[in-house]
């Protein structure tokens, strides 16, 4: 495994998106695995190393099974029981992997918060929206229930929910999809966390509402200076919010670069493929580029993309390429890139 380990100096100070902002999160060599059937271990995240600066948005892009959700659950300390984690997660100078359950509980919701894909199922159906928001404040800011509820109404107003006093008394099913996601965001930002983990926050929404939610997230980021780890399968959505983008494939980072660089000069064949397969309003094409094969199934030996890669050769099937910085702040894990 050591071959593939990107040494810590690779992820150095040099590629923070906004150099004047100090580092908030540093993930080094993070691996997550689960005991599979018949004693075999299945590794869902392998040797992940990345950073997020304060106030920065990191976009995480990948298809199903690439490990993007497990990564975010790992930094939230919410991995399902049975998960084996190695590597380190450093948040604001604290080592999260050494956290006790009690430390995790005072960390989650205050320092780092999460927004999920499905706002309907992510909210407790039998609890008023206002109460669900107030709960966080009662826990972390030691507010009284009444004061917390008042704050919840203000928070609902800050995410532009009309008549917030009335909405705070509503149950989740009484809100529309977009409003539910707004309420989720209000809940996540209640204690002004330093990091917001957003796991496909707009996937369940219509395009027009998606645009509203993206606007809202950017606006709040500006107000609060919250860093965001924005996870999505949709490259275009990520391109509209992220400072830097990390492309994952089959549990690994294949490319990691500032957003403009990634789109103007994608280096990894997988990233190139992803961008070229997208039909775009701006450029009609007769035939779309396709990445052959399918996601999932048995992992090939060597580079995990080698069985679908147009450039794959014998060397790719023998060893896993490490993530290297090939241009300033532009990292890629491919033998074919110089």
């Amino acid at each position: 495994m050591s071959v593939a380990t990107p040494a810590l100096e690779v992820v150095g100070a040099g590629h923070v998106a906004q150099p004047n902002h100090p580092r908030l999160l540093r993930v080094s060599s993070l691996s997550v695995s689960f005991p599979g059937a018949e004693g075999r271990e299945s590794e869902v995240v392998s040797e992940l190393s990345y950073e997020i600066a304060q106030g920065e948005t990191l976009g995480v892009v990948g298809e199903s099974g690439c490990g993007k959700t497990m990564t975010s659950l790992a930094i939230m300390g919410l991995l399902p029981s049975g998960a084996k984690v190695s590597g380190s997660i450093e948040f604001d100078g604290k080592d999260l992997t050494a956290f006790s359950p009690r430390q995790w509980r005072s960390h989650r919701g205050r320092e780092v918060a999460m927004v999920f894909q499905e706002p309907m199922t992510a909210m407790n159906p039998v609890m008023k929206v206002g109460q669900q928001i107030a709960e966080v404040l009662v826990k972390h800011e030691r507010l009284s229930r009444r004061a917390a509820f008042g704050r919840a109404v203000e928070l609902l107003a800050s995410v532009h929910i009309p008549s917030p006093e009335r909405r705070a008394q509503d149950y989740p099913h009484q809100l529309s999809g977009g409003m539910r996601q707004r309420a989720m965001i209000a809940m996540a930002l209640a204690c002004r966390p330093k990091l917001l983990v957003a796991d496909e926050p707009t996937t369940a929404l219509d395009v027009t509402v998606q645009a509203q939610i993206l606007d809202l997230m950017l606006e709040l980021q500006e107000t609060y200076g919250t860093a965001i780890q924005f996870i999505s399968h949709n490259l275009a959505v990520v391109s509209e919010v992220a400072h830097r983008i990390m492309v994952m494939y089959s549990g690994r980072i294949v490319e990691y670069a500032p957003a403009e660089d990634l789109f103007s000069n994608p280096l990894h064949p997988y990233t190139q493929g992803l961008i070229r397969t997208l039909p775009d309003i701006a450029q009609p094409m007769a035939e779309l580029y396709t990445i052959p094969g399918s996601v999932g199934g048995k992992r090939p030996s060597g580079c995990r993309f080698s069985n679908r890669c147009p450039l794959g050769d014998a060397r790719c099937r023998e060893a896993e390429p490490a993530l290297r910085e090939v241009m300033p702040r532009h990292h890629v894990a491919c033998f074919k890139v110089n």
Binding site: D206, A211, E240, P279, I281, S294
Partner: protein
């Protein structure tokens, strides 16, 4: 071009059964929808969830019967003859295939229902499977052995085997991984080149629609907002809703969003659509008139082929 299907003033309302003592509610899924599908064309239907896209697809394939209005098939095509002029391809490739049937039997089902002998229809199934890019040996396997993209190919093969004139494809890509979508999109285009067939392509993804549609219908809350050729719709959208929709599509390379451009609010419930123009609650151009009068679907200024239902269209 000849019209393959003509939809004339179609209304589809579902009574919502609220129990014996409740007020009866009506879900107005489609209201006064008229258009035609030409032979050998790809007609896309776009709209947000709740706009009635799927209901329209089901109505045309005969799964739902209209409350009023007519769906007429072109010469020689009955609604439900042995010919099965319409076939469906669905969004979810997992629930689209019967898990207890072998792929060959799944693909051959339309022929089975036409009374074709087993040997004959399995032979044809092998041929069609090859046309959609699957080896003939797939016929003797079960659906769970295939990936999402492969299953969607099987579903397309089942639609093709009956030699339909029209395939209604209801969001056939949205359940697939990004890298698989383009494979299926290319397959649909290849089929189109090889035979005379029309697609009614239901989608919320404007990028995909732009890639394969000849004409586009924009639905909002069960009503047609705009019908136009692809070029016109994308180059000079006439209806404010179409414009907003195009603006909302995230685009690679546009860079970080500038907040404040998004359309306000959300699509209202079809249980009580707003009076007048159904879009007036969210429309940046809405005037008093829009609250009272339903705009007719009429040509945009100077573009006779581009119809738009707006009092203040471009």
């Amino acid at each position: 071009m000849n019209a393959l299907v003509e939809v004339d003033n179609l209304n589809l309302h579902f009574p919502i059964d609220g129990g014996f003592f409740k007020e009866k509610l009506t879900l107005r899924a489609l209201t006064d929808v008229s258009f035609s599908v030409e032979e050998d064309e790809t007609l896309a239907i776009v709209g947000e969830s709740g706009s009635g896209k799927t209901t329209l697809g089901y109505a045309i394939s005969g799964l739902l019967s209209p409350t009023s209005g007519r769906i007429k098939f072109g010469a020689g095509l009955g609604g439900h003859s042995q010919e099965s002029p319409v076939q469906l391809v669905f969004q979810d490739p997992f629930s689209a295939l019967d898990p207890r049937m072998m792929v060959g039997d799944i693909v051959a089902e339309p022929l089975r229902l036409q009374g074709v002998s087993r040997a004959e229809r399995l032979q044809q199934a092998d041929d069609v499977l090859e046309q959609v890019g699957l080896p003939a040996e797939s016929a003797r396997r079960y659906p769970h052995e295939f990936s999402g993209g492969q299953r969607q190919r099987i579903a397309i093969a089942r639609a093709l085997i009956a030699k339909p004139k029209l395939i209604v494809a209801d969001e056939p890509l949205s359940a697939l991984d990004v890298s698989i979508q383009s494979q299926i999109l290319n397959l649909l285009n290849k089929i189109k080149r090889d035979r005379t067939i029309s697609y009614l392509f239901i989608s919320h993804d404007l990028g995909v629609v732009h890639h394969l549609a000849d004409r586009v219908i924009v639905l909002y809350l069960g009503r047609i907002m705009e019908i136009a050729s692809r070029q016109d719709l994308f180059a000079t959208p006439s209806h404010p809703y179409t414009q907003a929709l195009l603006e909302s599509v995230p685009r690679i390379g546009r860079g970080r969003r500038k907040p404040g451009q998004a359309l306000k609010g959300e699509i209202p419930t079809p249980l009580s659509p707003p009076p007048g123009c159904v879009f007036h609650t969210r429309c940046p151009r809405a005037q008093e008139d829009c609250r009272h009068h339903v705009p007719e679907l009429l040509p945009a200024p100077g573009r006779p082929e581009q119809l738009s239902a707006c009092h203040f269209k471009d």
